[in-house]
Amino acid sequence: MEEKRKLMDENGIRTDGRKWDELRPIRMEVGQLHNADGSAYIEFGKNKIVAAVYGPKEMHPKHLLLPERAVLKCRYHMAPFSVDERKNPAPSRREIEISKVIREAIQPALFLEDYPRTAIQIYVEVLQSDGGSRVAGITAASLALADAGINMRDMVVGCAVGKVDGKVVLDLNDTEDKEGSGDLPFAFMPNLNRVTLLQMDGLFTLDEFKQALGMARDGALKVYQMQREALLKRYFAGGVAEMSTTEEEAE
């Protein structure tokens, strides 16, 4: 993966005008789908992703149900028009792997034992992809689960770091993802201080790896604040400011 053009100018400004430690513009909305038990929409840069949760519901096929907890299912899927060249709508091997890692990133946050013999289904539909769609998808799915009222230990929040022009930077955009020299998707439970997703490609020294983990965590904490605000807005509209200040004072 060699770099074709410079992705950072002499002042350290990136292709989209951001600094090394800056997130793309982010917008989240909770509960915009009517039929789903929980839903969320996220814009993360040019990523536009909708997540929905159905459940706890009856488990199918029946022989796979678990007597002691709910089965968590996840489908990550990209719309054919979400990328530059039309994507075949059939699930690719990449989508199957991402569905698995998203499910495993979210499962630690859920009290699945509260819903024995049931299934909880997460759908992550990428309407437009812009680099970092799996971590934005995790952030949205976590909101959708909260919106569905599923018992949770913590929220899960995703954020990627990567390497462009030899520097570790926060939150890669599409160009940086494709032309940069490394990518490290990361998901985190902020209150429990646990990493629930980590993938990596590209070359990182041990020091760069440490730095990348720290940056991903800081980035995730920022996204978490927005995630929290999105939930407060949905459920305490009007009283948002009051809610957040009283809680912060209590801490």
Partner: protein, 271 residues
């Protein structure tokens, strides 16, 4: 969803975790110690390269086939390198025949990522005619006996098979690709080494066995290459890690990676 139905008895689970809390393992290893690694190469004459790897009781075989192929439209000046993995139904009682499930897909993709991201093979030099014909290297791995840590065993087999593979030299004759009959080694630049670490009740163990995998909450696979770089990684299974545990895993992966790289070099005769 539950990909495997390997079950460990409660009494064994308790014993395993009890031992771990004293820094010991069921098979007597240290927490950061891998099982015995054996590599045999060149077993399959009809393949361009092959390797059988045993990691404890986990046994896998990799075969390389090389042919001419058509490059991907977005990389017209690069050869193809495709890693596949299959867990055969004879590998364990719980494995069913059929198309690869999500675990097998993850296995193949994670091993592929390690080899690709380390830039082990210089795919830029595997071009016969840019945009038209390139060398296509297929490396397929079959798991023969599953006893935990398929990721590392599969990765070592792929690397050893590629290191010992010979490719035919192709040349263009007019518009046709001609096989000269001359056999060349692959253009190898780096040797990636995968190290997998399981998290069992917040205790880390390197190279988990099937039993240990059955009780672990999560695992992390980290690939390192010759110059001390980490080049690929994957956390798996529905548990989590603290950031500190991940850094410990990175230290272990780098330290163990060096020893395993030396073993691979010795077994394949490629320094």
């Amino acid at each position: 969803m539950p990909a495997k139905s390997f079950v460990v008895e409660t009494i064994k689970r308790t014993q395993l975790i009890d031992l771990l809390s004293k820094g010991k393992r069921m098979d007597g290893r240290n927490l950061d110690q891998a099982r015995k690694l054996e590599i045999k190469t060149g077993l399959i004459e009809k393949a361009n390269g092959s390797a059988m790897v045993s990691l404890g009781n986990t046994q896998v075989i990799a075969g390389v086939k090389i042919d001419k192929g058509i490059p991907f439209p977005d990389t017209p000046d690069k050869g193809l390198l495709i890693v596949g993995a299959e867990v055969l139904p004879l590998a364990a009682a719980y494995v069913e025949a059929g198309p690869p499930d999500e675990s097998a897909i993850e296995l193949a993709r994670v091993v592929d990522r390690g080899v690709r991201e380390s830039e082990m093979i210089d795919v830029g030099s595997l071009v016969i005619k840019a945009g038209k014909f390139v060398y296509a290297i297929f490396c397929d791995v079959n798991v023969l006996n599953a006893d935990g840590n398929l990721f590392d065993a599969t990765s070592y087999a792929v690397v050893a098979a590629l290191l010992t593979a010979k490719m035919p030299k192709f040349v263009m004759e007019g518009d046709v690709v001609k096989n000269t009959g001359q056999m060349l080694p692959l253009p190898v630049a780096k040797i990636p080494v995968s190290v997998t670490i399981a998290n069992i009740d917040d205790m880390l163990v390197l190279d988990p066995t099937e039993e240990e995998e059955a009780v672990m909450q999560s695992r992390i696979t980290l690939d390192t290459e010759d110059d001390g770089y980490l080049c690929a990684g994957q956390k798996g299974e529905p548990g989590s890690f603290t950031p500190e545990q991940i850094l410990t895993a990175a230290d272990w992966a780098l330290a163990r990676g060096k020893e395993i790289r030396a073993a691979i070099k010795e077994a394949t005769g490629r320094a």
